[in-house]
């Protein structure tokens, strides 16, 4: 029929063949006939042929090759589904010869336009890998490429392939980490599961543990953590620095949380394990609710979920306590579910709920399901040992159960009672007697053995009964189970030792019986006991100790949960369920002690920027800032801010006000916590009071930040001596640090830890960064004098620093103006308002650019979509890097985006159009000349040298009247620095202040000198090659100093 020309006949034949496969019959002899049909036009025939091929191609490799050309043709089909299915089948034919063809097909498919085809390519990767592991390297390349894919359809599959092929290549994930986190919600559910599991592993290697503060982990990890540190002061620092979560870590947690609401149990479980393994303990409890919800679904799901809950509940009881009642057992539950629920109930038992639980247990004991009833008895036993208050009650209850008619129940209670009695044997003779009586009726060997053991152990307390018991058992010895026989022997031996008068003959009789027993175990034991207790010439020495040997105090057994040892497996995995290592199980690594460099994840955003020129360190500075922003807004609920910078600085000044209060006492005394700088400044105080004061000013900001940081964390230990804030200034200062603050804060925690690793590399900007982080107290915003610089460094950095001091280097901004300029008024922008301000950070988009933060606000009540930039009208030479288009802005929402503009060191306007979906608005940005500069640090000597070269034409100067209140040093510095992005140069003289910067585009130096003269006038000198800039800057600085 397969040869038939009619499709329907072929179809019928194919259906029969598939039916044969389903029944398990071998249909391989039809292979040639089937393969011919692979080119069939009819889709259904094709599909069935595919089914057939996948089943038999491996057996008939040569013939399967015939079909491959068809697939190759299909790979070029315009219909994506055909392309995809061809790829699927091609990769499913496990014929080694076609590996290169497959490789080629995969490579092609992964750049296919259709995400569906790309998804299938990701699947094909795994198949090819299992067919030929030698292709690994090539496949990793493909995976890397696919990981960059932005389609949600692909993400799940490619991560699956990643897990399969190269789960250890975590470096591939770095750049895609944030993207994956963001996409996660939209990925199809199966993909979510895989991604979440992968991210869990990833996070465990990349972030530090959030559990540091928790008591359980604390001691262990902290000791461990600090032992490696050599320096005492570092210890202090780190103790102060309580854990702050990496923003990326937080991002992951935040993005997975909604998935707890998924309808797919696997996703919920995956998120639950993620929270369990990654979240701070306080947050992990939110998963409990969702897990409890899963208990409503099918029995298999219940089974797995309960198992996981059981493990969780051992470690953190509190998590599931509110849901205690959800674990009550229903009589219709299958036994395995019942037992698991019981397990959890037992784990959750505590003083408060034990009485209700015991009542509940009473019901269970009477259950018809005897296996379950027995388990309940054990549970009662465990509760009794764990909670001492109820031990007696439990014991009484169990004794009552001894009169139960069901044998299994009785036997189980005997065993449990035995264990309980062992823990407190003092006053339970009655029970032992009662049990001795029971011996006649009980047939279950374990129970009989338990009773015998009990009697033997405490035979001194029941002197009358014990020999009697021995007599009875001796009679039935031959019919007993091995277990019981052993215990009879034990009992005999013990009685022989304590009460040999009555029992000597009986024991010997028992021993004789044992001697000829079938079991070698028993024969061995018999021989052993005989030698030990029956005195004869040879073994005199040992038998003296016989009593000690037999009647030694035995430690009570611990009743433990069988789930105790499961916690080393990752929750939700197969291995966890089976409590044994499944093949392919990947151990969850421990938290790293030191967080690996977080910057590796940063590049993904900048990826889209085509002009990105790759200054990694700069990027690093930029990105966390943004993240941190959104973070702090959401977390601290700092009023859904319309403009991020405003609210930020607002809240800051508040905090600083608080700070002011506490620091008034110490203000003026120029100390910092660091010992080295401390002593240094002491010695220098007399000679260079001014210098240190100047340094202090710049330092003070940091100290405040630092102090705020610490005070926020309620960690006030010796932070008081770090506060040397000149109090009168703090209110004015507060304005000038909106960006720099968040920047340093977010970085501090992370990078402090990298410092050691990085120290080796003495690239200059790295060095600066290190400086920031290593000495957060001294100066993250580095504008120090050379003197202060060197004093604040410890010996190992000193050399570096000195070699640096003669080099002119771009440094971070001293102050950031909070002044925002209007880009687009909301009236003219149809409700779209835009502001911009200069963040004074090195632009991430390229050298020569000035970074501009544009804040776009939607004042309408509708969404504004697709905000982007068009029609740039720039003067020649000027360049501009657009911000990424904003897809959608919610009503009353606002968003801040970075852009970079290269103004070519001119104050010409950059005009462009701000476009939305339904409107375009002309806007312009005109930079104040002060913003075209980048601050530099240099020593006084260098300054003078450079100044000497820039005289004549390159010098502009003016004499100005200085308002009285402006004549102090720090006010001048503050005002100048606010007006222009200048770096402070240390000055040896009281009345001369020097500032240095270079232009953003050409890098020419701009040197500013302010010399205070008599009668409140000042000489303002600016030296620069760029005379235009010089004169404009002069013009702008004049009013700054003269105004009050």
């Amino acid at each position: 029929m397969l040869e038939s020309s009619k499709d329907s006949a072929k179809l019928d034949a194919m259906k029969r063949i598939v039916g044969m496969i389903a029944k398990g019959k071998n249909a391989s002899e039809l292979f040639p006939a089937v393969v011919k049909n692979v080119a069939s036009k009819n889709i259904e025939i094709k599909k069935l042929v595919y089914v057939y091929l996948m089943r038999y191609a491996e057996e008939q490799q040569d013939l399967a090759l015939l079909s491959i050309s068809t697939f190759q043709r299909a790979l070029k089909d315009p219909n994506q589904l055909i392309r995809a299915s061809a790829l699927r089948v091609l990769s499913s034919i496990r014929v080694p010869i076609i590996v290169p063809i497959m490789m080629l097909a995969i490579k092609e498919a992964c750049s296919d336009l259709s995400p569906y085809v790309r998804k299938n390519a990701a699947h094909a990767i795994q198949k090819l890998y299992s067919l030929d592991p030698e292709q690994k390297e090539m496949l990793i390349e493909v995976i890397e490429k696919l990981l960059k894919d932005r389609s949600t359809l692909v993400a799940g599959s490619v991560v699956m392939a990643f897990e399969e092929v190269c789960p250890d290549r975590i470096d591939l994930i770095h750049k895609n980490y944030r993207k994956l986190c963001h996409l996660l919600v939209d990925v199809e559910e199966w993909g979510q599961v895989v991604i979440i599991h992968m991210l869990t592993r990833y996070a465990r290697t990349q972030f530090v543990s959030p559990w540091k503060d928790d008591e359980v982990v604390e001691e262990y990890s902290e000791n461990n953590f600090y032992e490696s540190d050599e320096e005492q002061k570092e210890k202090d620092q780190k103790v102060k620095n309580t854990y702050t979560m990496d923003p990326d870590h937080r991002l992951l947690l935040r993005n997975t949380k909604p998935l707890l609401q998924s309808r797919n149990a696997a996703v919920v479980m995956a998120v639950a394990q993620l929270y369990w393994h990654l979240a701070p303990k306080s947050e992990a409890s939110i998963v409990a609710k969702s897990l409890v919800r899963l208990l409503r679904s099918n029995r298999e799901v219940q089974y797995i979920v309960l198992q996981n809950i059981a493990t969780m509940s051992i470690q953190r009881k509190g998590m599931f306590e509110p849901y205690l009642k959800s674990f009550y057992v229903r009589s219709t539950d299958p036994t395995m579910i019942k037992t698991l629920k019981l397990e959890i109930l037992t784990n959750l038992a505590n003083e408060a709920n034990i009485s209700t639980l015991l009542r509940e247990f009473q019901t269970y004991v009477r259950s018809q399901d005897k296996q379950f009833a027995a388990a309940t008895i054990q549970a009662i036993g465990r509760c009794a040992t764990n909670i001492t208050e109820v031990t007696d009650t439990c014991l009484n209850g169990l004794v009552c159960l001894l009169s139960n008619r069901d044998e299994i129940v009785v036997a189980e209670s005997v065993v449990v009672i035995k264990k309980l009695l062992q823990t407190q044997p003092a006053h339970h003779c009655e029970i032992i007697k009662h049990m001795a009586k029971l011996l006649d009726n009980i047939t279950v060997p374990v129970a009989r053995a338990s009773i015998l053991w009990l009697i033997g152990e405490y035979c001194e307390r029941v002197p009358k009964i014990a020999p009697d018991v021995l007599r009875k058992t001796a009679k039935s010895f031959t019919n007993e189970d091995d277990l019981v026989k052993l215990q009879i022997l034990n009992l005999g031996a013990k009685l022989y030792l304590t009460n040999s008068k009555q029992t000597k003959l009986l024991t010997q009789y028992v021993l004789n019986l044992g001697k000829y027993d079938q079991s070698y175990d028993i024969r061995d034991r018999t021989r052993f006991i005989r030698q030990l207790i029956v005195p004869n010439e040879k073994s005199g020495a040992l038998s003296k100790y016989a009593k000690k040997i037999f009647l030694a105090q035995k430690p009570a057994p611990l009743l433990e949960s069988p789930f105790k040892d499961r916690d080393h497996f990752q929750l939700g995995t197969l291995s966890h369920t089976l409590n044994s290592r499944a093949s392919g199980y990947l151990e969850l690594s421990d938290w790293p002690e030191v967080a690996p460099d977080p910057s590796v994840r940063d590049v993904d955003v900048a990826e889209s920027a085509k002009e990105w020129t790759g200054n990694l360190d700069k990027t690093k500075k930029e990105k966390p800032t943004e993240k941190f922003y959104s973070e702090s807004e959401e977390e601290e609920d700092e009023s859904a801010s319309t403009s991020a910078s405003e609210s930020e600085s607002g809240s800051e000044s508040e905090k600083q006000d608080e700070e002011e209060g506490s620091s008034v006492d110490t203000s003026g005394s120029s100390t910092s916590s660091e010992e080295s700088s401390d002593s240094e400044s002491d010695s220098k105080e007399s000679t260079a009071k001014k210098t240190s004061r100047a340094a202090n000013e710049s330092v003070s900001e940091n100290i405040k930040k630092k102090a705020k940081d610490t005070s926020k964390k309620r960690n006030t230990s010796n932070s008081s001596d770090t506060e040397s804030t000149p109090s009168e200034k703090s209110s004015s200062d507060s304005k000038s640090e909106s960006d720099s603050k968040s920047d340093s804060e977010s970085e501090k925690s992370k990078e402090e830890k990298q410092v050691h690793d990085k120290k080796a590399s003495n690239k200059q900007d790295v060095f600066l960064l290190d400086l920031d982080d290593f000495y957060p107290v001294t100066t993250p915003v580095a504008a120090p004098t050379a003197a202060v610089l060197s004093t604040s460094l410890t010996a190992d950095l000193e050399g570096l620093c000195l070699s640096n001091s003669s080099v002119i280097d771009v440094t971070t901004q001293v102050a950031v103006p909070t002044k925002t300029h209007e880009l687009l008024h909301r009236m003219s922008g149809k409700g779209l308002a835009a502001h911009y301000h200069f963040s004074r950070q090195p632009s991430i988009f390229g050298d020569g650019m000035v970074s501009v933060q544009v804040t776009v606000t939607n004042t309408t009540d509708q969404k504004i979509e697709n905000i982007h930039i068009e029609e740039k009208k720039l003067p020649p030479g000027m360049r501009m890097h657009d911000f990424n288009p904003i897809e959608c802005l919610e009503p009353a929402g606002s968003i801040t985006v970075p852009m970079g503009i290269d103004f070519c060191d001119s104050t010409q306007m950059a005009s462009f159009q701000l476009c939305t979906k339904d409107g375009r608005f002309n806007v312009t940005i005109q930079p104040p000349v002060g913003e075209l500069l980048l601050p530099v640090t240099m020593s006084e000597k260098d300054f003078k040298k450079e100044q000497g070269m820039l005289i004549g034409m390159n010098e502009t100067s003016a004499t100005i009247a200085v308002a009285l209140q402006n004549s102090t040093r720090h006010v001048i510095i503050e005002r100048v620095v606010k007006a222009a992005n200048l770096g402070i140069v240390p000055s040896g003289q009281d009345n001369i202040h020097r500032f240095a910067a270079k232009t953003a585009h050409s890098g020419s130096l701009v040197l500013v000198t302010v010399e205070l003269k008599e009668s409140s006038t000042a000489q303002l000198v600016i030296n620069t090659e760029k005379t235009v800039i010089g004169s404009v800057l002069l013009r702008e600085l004049k009013p700054v100093l003269s105004q009050g």
Partner: protein, 395 residues
């Protein structure tokens, strides 16, 4: 993978006394067998390496759901009859062990479900039940909805169904009670409608899980369900009203079951009555109880409805029907026990089923349903129902 791995499974199945007790995860030397049990059929998946077990189990359940969707019932006969379709469907759902398309909307586009009509047409015209035109749905922004849906009557129905899970102890006091609710929707709307559903009292919902179509952000901020619905029947959300809120139990059961030690006869008496039903009638009442093994037979007379006692499984079921508050239904009679055996230690638990129409016991109410994105005016309907879930009375 050869078929012989299944032997391990059959072995485990034999070992378990009841089908329910077969462990869902069975390790074998080289593979792991994960199984689900539904409609009296075991579906077994063979796993080679580490994978989250729920992942597999959830998928198997999804497969069963799909079969049910395709064939109406999911029985052994049905699967045998449609082996080809089953293969085709599985083929689409799974690729090398990774789930591919599990939304039944899309599957149905790829492979048309067999209907009687189509079988007839197929035999006449010789056409196939594989979709002729290959769909584009997989690529649309909304993966759960296919494009180009058209209906003459545009309708959207929502059923709010709540189930009460409760354990009531001997004396009639409630040990636990929880409400589990779902909103099932049947949406037949043309085009790409965007629906929002708001509740009068969304705070009631303690814990919810959504169909992927629901926009989570909107729910977080405004407690409004906003979604582009899949076509046809689907479960929009399921929720949980926690035990903390007091749950009004709508019925009570009076029971008097006693076995005497001496004689082989026991007394049996059950009365069911309404309680806090807010004026609605309790319908579809069904009482089932698993009697102890020693029970031989029962002679009972119901005041209404019919009862059956199966002497083999020892299952007593009593179909009560509606409860008339004036004349409470009761079931009285005697139980005869196997001679010689002692009386059972535990009285049987009673499982109760009932339905109350037009009432959501938690008090949840849908406020309004709005549609955006399409021009026409759809027909909307909302139905409430309360059911007994796992409702047990211990005696």
């Amino acid at each position: 993978v050869s078929r012989s791995v299944c032997d391990y499974f059959f072995e485990a199945q034999e070992r378990a006394s009841e089908a329910e007790n077969v462990p869902p995860v069975i390790p074998t030397p080289h593979h792991y067998l994960l199984s689900v049990y539904r409609h009296k059929i075991f579906f077994v998946a063979v796993i080679q390496s580490e994978v989250p077990p729920l992942f597999v189990i959830e998928f198997l359940h999804r497969v069963v759901d799909t079969f049910q969707d395709y064939f109406g019932v999911c029985s052994e006969v049905m699967i045998k009859d449609n082996v080809v379709v089953v293969y085709e469907v599985l083929e689409e759902m799974l690729d090398n062990g990774f789930p591919l398309a599990t939304e039944s909307n899309i599957l149905k586009e790829l492979i048309k479900p067999p209907t009687i009509l189509r079988t007839v047409v197929n035999t006449i015209t010789g056409s196939t039940n594989v979709g002729d035109q290959l769909p584009t749905g997989q690529l649309s922004v909304v993966p759960w909805r296919r494009t180009g849906v058209k209906y003459t009557n545009n309708e959207a129905y929502f059923d709010v169904i709540e189930e009460i899970d409760a354990i009531i102890d001997k004396s009639g006091s409630t040990i636990t009670a929880e409400i589990q609710g779902v909103i099932d929707a049947c949406v037949k709307l043309t085009g790409m409608p965007d629906l929002t559903l708001s509740f009068m009292n969304p705070r009631l919902l303690d814990d919810v899980s959504f169909h992927p179509c629901v926009r989570f952000k909107r729910w977080e901020s405004e407690r409004i369900l906003s979604f582009i619905p899949p076509d046809g029947n689907f479960r929009l959300l399921s929720y949980h009203v926690s035990a903390q809120n007091l749950v009004a139990i709508p019925v009570y059961v009076k029971h008097n079951i006693s076995f005497r030690d001496s004689s082989s006869l026991g007394r049996f008496e059950i009365t069911v009555g309404p309680k806090q039903t807010m004026g609605k009638t309790v319908e579809g009442v069904m009482v089932t109880s698993q009697m102890p093994k020693s029970v031989l037979n029962m002679t009972l007379t119901p005041s209404q409805g019919t009862h059956i006692f199966d002497p083999v499984t020892k299952l007593l079921s009593w179909d009560v029907g509606k409860i008339n508050p004036q004349k409470l239904p009761s079931l009285k009679g005697s139980v005869s026990l196997q001679a010689g055996t002692s009386k059972p230690d535990e009285n049987p638990t009673i499982n109760l089923q009932f339905k109350i129409q037009q009432l959501a016991i938690s008090g949840l109410k849908v406020n309004r349903l709005d549609m955006y994105g399409e021009k026409y005016k759809p027909f909307k309907g909302i139905k409430y129902m309360t059911k007994a879930g796992k409702f047990q009375v211990r005696t």
